[in-house]
């Protein structure tokens, strides 16, 4: 054994003794790096957590590192994991993208930590691999559906639509009143997928085994009458002329602003947008409501839900105990309270004991019934199947701007999905 290795070993064992000693009085010391994405809300929440945690543990230093979101962020995470240079604790997607970072090889399991008992099982399933749990929720659960402007609904005397026909009838009235009925923001193409992805509750209502068959190459978007409807709906809304004039260039912040200030009536989006409304349009937070994407029948109305992103610990971390303690803090009721205070409540938490404040924005209270007893919800396809084609957002832009008909778009997406499945090495492709 070389001298340096000996010293290193001694160092770690001393550190280990210190940690066990400190665990008695719950005081931690040491250093952690924490990698998050550059969204303003992620940054605000992470800073609040770190401030609160280091106040309780003055001997701990936590550096926040920021990376871009989207595909570039995915590549940074994968590259840093592959080269062993990952931050101690990091934030990343759950569900199909989580499986792609090779969790068994790269992440530290947290299955048996005490605080995991408080985490809901439905969340654990989307951050598990090889029989171990690896994640802790970073945020509340989300729904995919439609934000609507309440003053417009009041002014025109509209009812919340339960079926697609009712939704289109509302759009017709809004258009007749000289207003923008549906806001689309294809300047940021990821926002174009909602009508397809948020329709998945309706797909499952019609074909309960679609996800399994989709994964095993037995069901296709183009040939399943229920699944192709998401693409049809995208095309319907475009052809009826309900969109804002600049839908091709508008961006997500534009969409948030328009639905909040009443420049448009409906904006299909995930409920995490509530945080952005609270931040950029606080005066209009009370003007925005939310409903699930309506399907064929008013009787089977329900919400397509998204599991939150998650916090993971890299296997390469030098201080696993400290990292677990910090992640446990994030996944505790105290962590939720800090989050509520920093960026407001945006949906139900997946952590036992986490309460929503009494004065949640209307868009949040609108989504809660779908999660409660007797409410109806179903997970989005990306949590039931490891496959999600990477070109969906470009295809939905094309269908939603009239460049390509819905049926062709669905067939093209099936082609895209095949490529992903082959890359994942799934059977039957």
């Amino acid at each position: 054994m070389t001298k340096t290795r000996l010293f290193a070993l001694m160092g770690t064992s001393v550190l280990g003794m210190m940690l066990t000693a400190n665990a008695v009085n719950a005081q931690q010391s040491g250093y952690l790096s924490f990698l998050i994405d550059n969204g303003p809300q992620s940054v605000a929440v992470a800073e609040a957590w770190v401030a609160a945690y280091t106040e309780q543990n003055p001997d701990v230093t936590i550096d926040i590192e920021v990376r871009p979101g989207g595909g570039e962020g995915d590549n940074i995470v994968k590259t840093r994991l592959a080269t062993g240079a990952m931050a101690d604790v990091f934030f990343y997607n759950s569900g199909s993208l989580f499986q792609a970072i090779n969790p068994v090889q790269n992440l530290l399991p947290v299955t048996n930590e005490a605080w995991q008992e408080g985490i809901q099982d439905s969340f654990k399933t989307v951050v598990s691999a090889g029989g171990e749990v690896y994640g802790t929720p970073f945020a509340p659960a989300m729904g995919g559906g439609i934000f609507y402007n309440k003053p417009i609904y009041e002014e025109l005397g509209l009812e919340i639509p339960k079926s697609w026909d009712e939704f289109m009838a509302n759009n017709e009235k809004i258009k007749a009143a000289g207003k923008v009925a549906v806001i689309q923001t294809y300047g940021e193409s990821w926002t174009s997928q909602l009508f397809v992805l948020a329709d998945f509750f309706n797909v499952l209502a019609a074909e309960p085994d679609f996800a399994e068959k989709f994964t095993t190459n037995e069901a296709k978007f183009a040939t399943s009458p229920a699944a192709v409807k998401g693409f049809d709906r995208l095309q319907d809304v475009f052809e009826a002329g309900y969109l804002n004039a600049d839908f091709g260039a508008a961006t997500y912040p534009d969409g948030i602003r328009m639905v909040a200030t009443g420049e448009g009536a409906h904006y299909p989006m995930l409920t995490f947008g509530i945080g952005a409304i609270a931040e950029t349009q606080p005066d209009h937070l009370q003007d925005v409501g939310f409903f699930a994407q309506p399907g064929d029948s008013a009787d089977s109305n329900g919400l397509t839900t998204w599991m939150p992103d998650s916090v993971y610990i890299a296997k390469t971390t030098a201080s696993p105990d400290l990292a677990k303690d910090f992640v446990g803090f994030i996944g505790s009721p105290a962590g939720c309270d800090i989050r509520n205070e920093a960026v407001g409540a945006t949906g139900p938490y997946m952590i036992a004991g986490c309460e929503l404040p009494a004065d949640v924005p209307p868009a949040v209270s609108d989504m809660l019934p779908y999660f409660q007893e007797g409410g109806q919800n179903a997970p989005a396809l990306e949590f039931l199947s490891p496959i999600k084609g990477p070109a969906l957002e470009q295809i939905t832009v094309e269908v939603g701007s009239g460049i390509r008909p819905a049926a062709e778009g669905a067939a093209l997406y099936d082609e895209d999905v095949r490529k992903q499945a082959q890359q994942l090495g799934l059977e039957g492709w």
Binding site: G70, G71, E72, D74, N75, K78, T79, L81, A82, A100, N102, Q105, N106, Y186, G187, S189, A245, D246, G248, A249, P390, A391, Q394, I395, V397, E398, S401, I403, R404, L412, E415, K419, Q420, Q422, Q423, G425
Partner: protein, 296 residues
């Protein structure tokens, strides 16, 4: 080694410098260029997740050519390269003529024309994305005051590629101009004096003296801007991300999307395809341009 072999080897390697003199450069070249090239050739034959790789033969290439948008991407790439290099030649020549003549504020104008070359491409892309916004962009608002309804520069699938190409020309024409200025200044004055004695008009001057004698500059501008156009990526990505839909995708942006999706082997295969494509188009073009030059 026998004593007789030594002089024989010395005779064969008669060079100005001893062999070891090249070693540092060769080592750098091997580490920084050869190794990655061969590594990427290997990885293009694998299914590669960054964490492990499985050898799958030519499947990536088959998949890449099955890519629904590859053909459109190839066509777009060639259109883009032809438009940008063509316009840079014409405009660069015209600007260079203007800037070598005796006009007021020549030095100032030269720097104004060259300025966009120095600005970051992504910055230029973002600026023009704002200027070309269909409703609130400055370009369409300016047209509106003239009573013209401006098109959706970047959101109309028929226009997007051309809009980006125009911005590329705006950004790159300064370099072409500088090359042309150098070429024009190098033409000996004797030719123009001889032409004047023969009674040539300025148009004849241009077509029979300036144009043929600036051919080396033209060859340089065409080669540089054509290669640049074929492998263009940054401007397209900053302005349209290949959109709307797939309307302005080029080979490079298709490759980048595969990389973003985590298909590392597939995108490496795409890079090999792009490398071959550039070689196949540019090598004959350069040979053609240089042969013409030899005939002058």
């Amino acid at each position: 080694m026998t004593a007789a072999a030594v002089p024989a080897m010395k005779a064969r390697r008669r060079s100005l410098y001893p062999g070891w003199f090249y070693a540092p450069a060769a080592a750098i070249y091997a580490v920084l260029f050869l190794a990655p090239t061969f590594a990427s050739l290997y990885f293009s034959l694998t299914r590669w997740t960054l964490f492990d790789s499985v050898f799958i033969g030519f499947e990536n290439f088959a998949q890449f050519f099955r890519e629904p948008f590859l053909i459109q991407g190839l066509v777009n790439t060639v259109i883009y390269a032809v438009i940008t290099s063509g316009l840079k030649v014409v405009l660069g020549m015209l600007l260079a003529l203007m800037l070598t003549s005796q006009i007021v504020a020549r030095g100032y104008l030269r720097s104004v024309i060259f300025f966009p070359v120095l600005v970051s491409t992504v910055g230029v892309g973002m600026t023009f994305t704002v200027l070309m916004h269909p409703t609130v962009g400055m370009i369409n608002q300016g047209l509106a005051t003239l009573g013209i309804q401006g098109p959706g520069w970047l959101v109309d699938p028929k226009l997007a590629l051309f809009s980006v190409a125009l911005v590329d020309v705006w950004k790159g024409v300064g370099l072409a101009t500088v090359i042309y200025i150098a070429g024009l200044v190098a033409i000996p004055k004797d030719y123009y004096e001889a032409a004047r004695i023969d009674g040539a008009t300025s148009l004849q001057n241009f077509f029979y003296v300036t144009l043929p004698l600036s051919r080396p500059a033209t060859a340089t501008v065409i080669t540089l801007s054509f290669i640049g156009g074929l492998r263009t990526f940054d401007l397209i990505w900053a302005m349209t991300k290949g959109g709307p839909g797939f309307a302005s995708d080029t080979v490079a942006s298709v490759i980048y999307k595969q990389y973003q999706a985590g298909f590392y082997g597939l995108s490496t295969a795409g890079n090999v395809v792009l490398f071959v494509l550039i070689a196949v188009l540019v090598v004959p073009l350069t040979m053609f341009l240089n042969r013409k030059q030899g005939h002058e």
